[in-house]
Symmetry: C3
């Protein structure tokens, strides 16, 4: 038994910490981000605050308390803090509540597209905007949101989400099988802030899910994309019938525990809108559960052996490049050199 391996912690970045609807009412919500407890609450003015989940008085989690007006009140002695972390009230105390030693630590917060985004470094100002899901809630597209969590690092989950070869084994029969393989060409580009892979010459996958979505077959357009530091996107278009964009915003609860806030945007001329959600939800959950088992086993292996020991081949397409970007960002490297000259490669693979 041993410690889990270190992961690149990108702290100067936005992560989704909750769905908008999870932060409401008079009870605050506790989540963790890179291992640190965060309390979120929505004031009576409708704005959301996110503080380090610890009352500066006696270390009690503020999430144990209540929302009072625009403040969160500790459940032990009733100390109140506003969205900026300033202490606004100390019951029974005749002096002034606000004092620099009595501040709670505040995180920058943005609410957009039904998500609460939190900037993971409470000591710096955000220098960018949260990711915008371009196709979400567009006319003609149905958008399905869902959240789950898995025992794996952000990188492990990002690689898994954008990895093609494992689908023929772990998800055997859902997308692909291990027979009837065709050669395709994969064009990968790594930019300073994203990795994009296009798959050229891919036939419609023979699996159940693919047949359901695109009964008449047709040319396949398939892109896998990673947007630094936490968004994965799989774009699929099969013929003109369907356009499916599966995203997940990955949130590092801890180094080796990750939440996925998924956003699936679907336009289909074949499947009636009211049937899309009942079809997607159970299928996505089945796939996710299979992946979650593998992630948990991988984490157990890290514990058992006390180390991580990857070997890659050229068909491990996005994972190694995602890791490169995460490692650079965790070290504070800007990647300007890369921005001018993106990395590009072509690989042949059997799918």
């Amino acid at each position: 038994m041993s410690d889990l391996p270190k992961v690149p912690r990108v702290k100067k970045a936005w992560y989704v910490l909750a769905r908008s609807g999870e932060v409401q009412g008079n009870k605050p919500l506790r989540r963790r981000l890179w291992g640190s407890p965060v309390v979120m609450f929505r004031g009576s003015d409708g704005h959301v605050g996110a503080l380090v989940d610890r009352c500066p008085h006696r270390d009690i989690p503020l999430s144990f308390g209540d929302v009072v007006g625009n403040n969160v009140a500790c459940g032990y002695h009733g100390w109140q803090f506003d969205r900026t972390g300033e202490c606004k009230r100390i019951p029974a105390f005749e002096g002034t509540a606000a004092h620099k030693t009595r501040c709670a630590t505040a995180y920058p917060v943005r609410e957009q597209q039904d998500f609460i985004w939190v900037w993971a470094d409470p000591n710096t100002e955000p220098d960018c905007d949260p990711y915008w899901f371009e196709w979400a809630d567009r006319p003609g597209y149905l958008t399905v949101r869902h959240e789950v969590s898995a025992e794996g690092s952000l990188h492990a989950l990002a690689e898994n989400a954008l990895d093609v070869p494992h689908t023929a084994f772990l998800h055997r029969g859902l997308f692909r099988n291990d027979n009837d393989r065709n050669p395709i060409t994969c064009v990968l580009e790594r930019h300073a802030d994203k990795v994009v892979c296009e798959y050229i010459g891919e036939p419609r996958p023979p699996g159940f899910a693919a047949r359901l979505l695109s009964p008449s077959g047709g040319a396949v357009k398939h892109f896998d994309r990673f947007f630094m530091p936490c968004v994965v996107q799989v774009e699929y278009a099969i013929g003109d019938e369907n356009h499916i964009l599966t995203h997940a915003a990955l949130t590092p609860i801890d180094d080796h525990e990750t939440m996925l806030f998924s956003v699936v945007c679907v336009r289909s001329s074949r499947i009636p809108k009211r049937l899309i959600r009942p079809l997607i939800q159970p299928l996505a959950m089945r796939i996710f559960q299979q992946d979650a088992v593998v992630m948990a086993l991988q984490k157990q292996s890290y514990r058992d052996f006390g180390s991580q020991k990857y070997t890659s081949t050229e068909i491990d397409l996005l994972g190694p490049h995602i890791l490169k970007l995460l490692n650079r960002a965790a070290r504070g490297q800007t990647g300007e050199a890369d921005r001018r000259k993106p990395y590009r490669t072509e690989v042949r693979m059997m799918v």
Copy 2:
């Protein structure tokens, strides 16, 4: 995740390790004190012994064995030890059992007022007597004993037990509420071996518990006291009708886990004696459970953040002074300077 913060361990001191009735029959009792397992047993002569709960032969806890005469016998090979730790018998062995390498380590023990007190340092002789509950079992007073445990340090529980402001929040409605506040004067004195706070000008609390105990109101006499290193006492007299002394002997099972042996002494001209216990017990348990939740949350916070980070105001009356005395005692400082010139302060507070 991280280690829990260090606490002052006062080892040269008496702590209650059991109720008298818990140590009897042919099965020994195992408890922990500052993290070390202790086995207690009552010999056929009626005297109680307390040994380090480990057989010197093969490290098996002696509490797994049996009481045989005045000895405790290990359950693995039957080695027997008396109250002093001397080995008295080794079955099948033809030599003499007693030998300096075969001694169990013995703790000094005192039994008084229905409690087994154990001196926490087995390597030193006690230089004082255990605390005496002055009002326990007196004529005219009903005495109710009870024991519970909580996930918090001795200091956290002592501060909690003697803290007034939190009662209006955590125990809202039982003693006080957050409205109709009155200013009172608090006079605090810290001596070398105790901290005493008198509350002057306090009206009868409006809460349910107070109304029950003193329906006709009247002048309130209220003292909170801490006796080094482990006894808290709240003395309340409302008019002439009632005199209530709530004590707890706090026992550090571990640095952040504490048993409370409570002793409540009540004289009441309003409530018939036979009703006092049924009234006190459920009320005390409800209060205690609310406090235990906060203590456990505080401990969880220590784990989450890997540190303790208190901020106090002047209305945190006893806690900081108790910590001062505990820290001094843990460092072996006698506090003679303090004995001659007690510390005294006055504070105004709204209750």
Copy 3:
């Protein structure tokens, strides 16, 4: 709380990792050896392989996968490995699977007498053969195999299995009692690779088990033997009626967790063969469960006190000598000096 004490890890040695029947079909078997996960699988050619249970690609335990022909296939991406650890297939990859960076680590394996033996150091070649159970499956002998596991070190379990004095206490009434003791002479010899103790002058034990096996009494022949590094053997013959050889091959799952693969060989002129198994199994399980409780308590003591602290007398016969051999072997000492001049001692004991 603290770490468990270090134990001598003898790595250049064979240990039983499974019964033959446990390794079959298309699902591999996972076990641990000295804390390291091992995956075992039987190829379609009937031979058993044992690999470090970690796919070199992404650290997933190979035991999560399937047996395919003579290979084990990872459940994540379908990489296949043969018994030597060579990578035989990478689905979707157009290059050659075999490559030195893509090898799984293989353990030497031997299958004999219904057991899978694994050499605990995958980096060295075995320089000896696994232990041979000489009396197993012989004509006239009934052989009963069984496997259990306990929370204790290999040494603690070996000492326990070969220790006579504890049987009068922990297993009171089954073999011996604490009264009617007789003096016997114990002759102990320690060789470079084994410890043997003969008990001379032992009457038939008065307990239930003994009376059952040998109703008419008679002279007792009793040897306790330890064979480096993992086999214990108790040989009992009471009169001419019975010859019982109880062995256990001890397998260090981890430093303080051990599996016992027991092999009991019985020849009896009194008890019909078909009754032996129904008599032995429940009795052996009862004894083992009592021992397992003590082993787990001992381990808990190590945790509680952060150390091991043995004291022995001369009637702790085999344990200290077994420890000596294990310590030497763990340090890589050959014990040649010992081989020429075995250690010999006589002790009197009351049984």
